[in-house]
Amino acid sequence: MIEAKDLKKLFKSRGKAVEALKGISFTAEDGEIFGLLGPNGAGKTTTLRILSTMLTPTSGTAVVEGHDILKEPDEIRRKIGFLSTETGLYDRLTPDDTLKFFGKLAGMESSDISKRADYLFDRLDLKKDRKRLISGFSSGMKQKVSIARALVHDPSVIVFDEPTNGLDVLTAKTVTDFLKEMRNEGKTVIISTHILSVVEKICDRFVIIDTGRIVAEGTLAELLEKYSATELEDVFFKLVPERRDA
């Protein structure tokens, strides 16, 4: 479970202060896919970076699986599997090397890493490419390796930032199916996206974030009813009117 409590984040850039998060609070339960939907620059990535302990909030905090992000960041990193467009892979490693490396960092035994790698590569259809250098992979294959990398230590919380961004339809489906499977295993899955259809298809609940604030929260049905809309797109444009180009 993830509980974000009034997260605020102030960045200072060239003497100017930019308030990226203006007090974000939400709860993502076990066994659900929770979405952060918003245009570019809304604060989704900053929120996920805070939850993954890459950034510390200026104020507020979050509790992940009972651990406070400010007090126990190491413990949190053991519990979560984080993936974003920024989490690149080492080109000169193979998928096998990658999982061994991150598995070892997670304190796993070699035999456990091997078993987990077999499962993940099988599930993500990477078996025949596991010994090839990643430098020769397509972006879809790289994304699959990234997913395997994020999940090698079998985390109970999955934090994926824009998981289907730039992927072809087939790879995107593999990713979304995999996320659903993890939800069904009882894991807490939190994703960020600016693609409305991803939210419609896989999110059990979601928040719409704009300019560092949550402007709506609920299930798809709840929000459609609340805003008297038939599609999520209508709800989104009602709440984020000035950002129609996003």
Binding site: K12, L55, S84, Y90, R92, L93, K104, L105
Partner: protein, 394 residues
């Protein structure tokens, strides 16, 4: 500790799979230095031979006695011009002739120090002038019935009794500390930037930051890797250099090998280092390797791009090049306080070790000050790496 080693192993695996880097590290020093010295040796030997056989045109003023020419050494290849197409001074300035000899009370040889041929011609004319003067003195002595020993009661001979190893050590003792320092820092720049800023550019730093390794472990793992590769890079370069210079010493440094050859031990270039001295050398190098590695990781973690990293590191590299130059142009007596300045003291301690003048006090001071400096810089690097503003700088 496990995570530090895991990061080190990963870095090393990535390094071993980079063929271009491997080529640069292993092939270049072994091929480049012998090739470089071969080319230098070839051209310097060719130039010397050319100078030996080149005929120099000189002008002797009417005031120079005609018998002067009888004293030209054999194979001097000096051609005295009887007639000139212009003023001797203009011809000399244009290097059409290589020297002018005039005689009043004293003899004067005019030449251009900016021209190699003119310098060589002047040297031959000086020998000629000395021979001529000796002959005049001998004739005068004969006239008054005195033997030649009247003005040369004894011969003066200089005999160099330094061993080959000492002569070679003197030469390498000056150049090696410079090379080692430069190699360590330039090696650190290449590999350290790749391991720090390179991760930012490839987007792998975020992957590492969300892993279960702490930021201190990441820094220390990378530090271990950069030090290891720096050592490898530095040692291979120094070996390549020493071997190449040893092979080509007779053509590049004929004076040095000649001196070494005058000893009973025979001729040639000999560089030897006792195992314990080699070990002490490594102990001296380790702290500066750590200083270089931690500096570059700190800078590389801050920089947004490799280009920015190189720009930020360049002033430090210049400082260390300066340190190297200081060690090459050391005063006769090295002031004691030099041994309290980190990196400068490493250079001079290495010099003492290589020239058989090892002093334990200097060695100890050097180790303590450089290790202390390395520890401070590592602590600053870890502190910096723990700051999120370093990783997400806009």
């Amino acid at each position: 500790m496990n995570n530090i080693l895991t990061i080190f192993q990963k870095e090393f695996k990535v390094f071993l799979r980079d063929r271009r880097t491997l080529f640069m590290i292993f092939v270049v020093p072994i091929v480049f230095y012998p090739l470089m010295f071969n080319v230098i040796g070839h051209f310097s030997s060719k130039n010397r031979n050319e100078l030996k056989t080149t005929t120099f045109k000189v002008y002797l003023a009417p005031s120079v006695p005609s018998e002067f020419q009888q004293y030209f050494p054999e194979d001097s290849h000096i051609r005295v011009l009887k007639t000139l197409t212009g003023s001797p001074e203009t011809l000399l300035q244009d290097n059409k002739i290589q020297a002018i000899v005039t005689m009043a009370d004293d003899m004067e040889i005019r030449y251009l120090s900016s021209e190699r041929t003119s310098r060589a011609a002047a040297a031959r004319l000086k020998t000629t002038a000395e021979n001529y003067r000796d002959a005049l003195v001998a004739a005068k002595l004969k006239e008054v019935g005195l033997p030649e020993t009247a003005i040369h009661p004894f011969k003066i001979e200089r005999k160099d009794v330094a061993s080959k190893a000492k002569v070679s050590g003197m030469f390498l003792g000056r150049i090696l500390p410079y090379m080692i320092i430069i190699m360590l820092f330039s090696g650190a720049m290449g590999f350290g930037l790749e391991a720090s800023t390179g991760e930012k550019e490839k987007g792998t730093i975020a992957t590492l930051l969300v892993s279960q390794a702490s930021r201190s472990q990441i820094v220390l793992g990378k530090l271990l890797y950069v030090v290891a590769v720096e050592f490898l890079y530095g040692i291979l370069n120094v070996i390549g250099f020493v071997v190449a210079i040893g092979l080509q010493a007779s053509t590049i440094q004929p004076d040095m090998t000649k001196k070494a050859g005058e000893t009973a031990a025979g001729s040639g270039f000999a560089f030897s280092i006792m195992p314990q001295s080699f070990l002490l050398l490594l102990v001296l190098i380790l702290p500066i390797a750590l200083i270089a590695a931690s500096l570059i990781i700190a800078i590389g973690s801050y920089a947004k791009s490799m280009k920015e990293g190189q720009t930020l590191f360049t002033p430090f590299l210049m400082i260390f090049i300066l340190v190297g130059i200081i060690s090459m142009t050391a005063p006769l007596k090295i002031p004691e306080y030099y041994f309290w300045i980190p990196v400068v003291n490493t250079s001079f301690s290495m010099q003492e070790l290589l020239t058989f003048k090892f002093q334990f006090g200097h060695f100890l001071t050097t180790i303590l000050t450089t290790t202390g400096t390395a520890a401070v810089i590592i602590a600053i690097t870890i502190w910096m790496f723990n700051r999120e503003s370093i990783h997400f700088r806009s």
